[in-house]
């Protein structure tokens, strides 16, 4: 690649974000409206608000709960989804029930789980995140397993691959593009639930501290929290994309060839 193409790429990628940031900076400069502090103030507040101690006390537990809940949902969703996807009887049996549970907006789980586990500890929050993330992964796994090409499964059977080998080398890889689709949806739901689960009861955590800032009218601090939360969403999406590209490289290459690129 020549220098000009690099410059062009950099301009396309950074141009609009810089324009928007500059616009925000100029529009908010010298702002006296307490709700819209200047970007300068917000950026100055950022390091004093999010000190390493605060990050360790608020951010790390939030992310840990998200990680545990999401992982539980991935395992449960793949196991349950594969079982349901492979068995037509089980699928017919569970379809209307799943249809209902998937349609329940995950945040209403919070009051229900609060009844069982209380909402001060980690347990209730992790269960909320895990249950909310479960349905997209489960349902996409079912679809992925169902949509396997019959030629593939029949070939594997003809070669007398044992049941678990078929599962490991044919069924799961075949369903993996759909599993990743489900996991991506689940991750964004997980982030939402991570925040919401901290808004109930007396709590610590990222979501809890942002609302705390808002209630005490510490507006620049609140803005730094919003920005931090946004950055976390972006960062998690980026990590997910890297993992997906690595694990689905074979599939993406295949698609590219099919499309004749």
């Amino acid at each position: 690649m020549t220098a000009t193409t690099y410059a062009k790429k950099a301009f396309l990628a950074l141009g609009l974000p810089l324009i928007l940031l500059a616009a925000w900076w100029i529009a908010s400069a010298g702002s006296t409206n307490p709700f819209w502090p200047s970007l300068q103030t917000i950026l100055q507040t950022f390091p004093e608000t999010w000190t390493p101690e605060r990050l360790a006390a608020d951010l790390v537990p939030s992310l840990a709960r998200l990680g545990i809940g999401f992982s539980l949902a991935v395992v449960g969703g793949i196991v349950g989804g594969t079982a349901i996807g492979l068995s037509p009887t089980l699928r017919a049996l569970s379809e209307p029930v799943l249809e209902f549970f998937r349609a329940v907006p995950p945040p209403v789980l919070v009051p229900i789980i609060a009844l069982f586990a209380g909402y001060t500890g980690w347990l209730g929050k992790i269960v909320t995140i895990a249950l909310g993330c479960l349905w997209p992964i489960l349902l996409n796994t079912v679809e992925g397993v169902r949509g396997l090409e019959p030629t593939l499964t029949d070939t594997a059977k003809s070669y007398r691959l044992s049941w678990w080998r078929r599962l490991l080398f044919v069924v799961l890889p075949g369903a993996s593009p759909r599993i990743f689709t489900g996991a991506r949806q689940a991750l964004s739901i997980g982030v939402i639930l991570m925040v919401i689960s901290e808004l109930f009861g007396a709590n610590r955590g990222l979501g809890a501290s942002i609302v705390q800032f808002q209630r005490s009218f510490a507006i620049p601090q609140m803005w730094t929290g919003i920005i931090l939360l946004g950055l976390i969403g972006v960062l998690l999406a980026a990590i997910f994309k890297v993992v997906e590209t690595r694990m689905l490289a074979w599939y993406m290459g295949q698609r590219q060839i099919e499309r004749g690129e």
Binding site: L16, F35, T89, A92, L93, A103, V108, I189, L229
Partner: protein, 280 residues
Amino acid sequence: MSPTQATLAPPTPSGAATRKPRRSRKGRPALLGIAGVAIVLVGAELLSRTGIVNPDFLPPVTEMYATLFRLLGEGEFWHSLVLTVRGWAIGLAAAMALGIAAGFVIGSFPFLRAFTSSTIEFLRPIPSVALIPLVVLLWGTQPQSAFVLVVYAAFWQVLVQVLYGVADVDPVARDTARSYQFGPLRIARSVIYPTALPYIMTAFRLAAAVALILEITAELVIGVPGLGRDIGIAQSSGNVPETYALVIVVGLIGVAVNLFARFAEKKMLWWHPSIRSEHS
């Protein structure tokens, strides 16, 4: 038919039909589905009645439904229901309109698409709940709070799908239209729109579900009037059966939203191969 016979017999074009009688298969999934629902309902009832799960946390299903039917006779319940559905519908409509308009404009110009893609990739994963403190400051518990969250969350779903849709346009079809001297509006209507329509319907399905989640979240967390707020009130006042009854209602609204989106997809895309192949 045993496996050996199957291999010896000449291959028949409709092998599946000969192996299993068709009639008994048709009604079976529906019956099994009903059985599945019954198992869950009876199971939950028994768990509660026998005290395996504390009935204070999980009241018997019959009690939940009794509460549900009592709610159906109350004006307040219907008022909340209307507020929730209205907030959902208005937010969804705004997000669809904005997303489709922006998607068509950005998607039609390669420069705009390249220029905005990094910004879209950055803004899209920002969780809309991050805006909760801000909308609380600006509008408190007014419906505008929910509106902003719903539109922000649903907009990106629509925009990204519409961009995919516009990008999917067959270059040959577009060039053909150009050779025939179609104007930009006519190209948009007869070439881009039919290609993008399946993506728009997918966007509608995804956005409808997300919009409901955010509407309920805003009601539950911020206190915007609606069913979500009623759930929060029922739970904090210790009215457990009503909490469950309202959650069931919200779930049923979700089911209705999904069914409606799928129905709309079929109606709008009756001509599309993906829908037609389901019938043949």
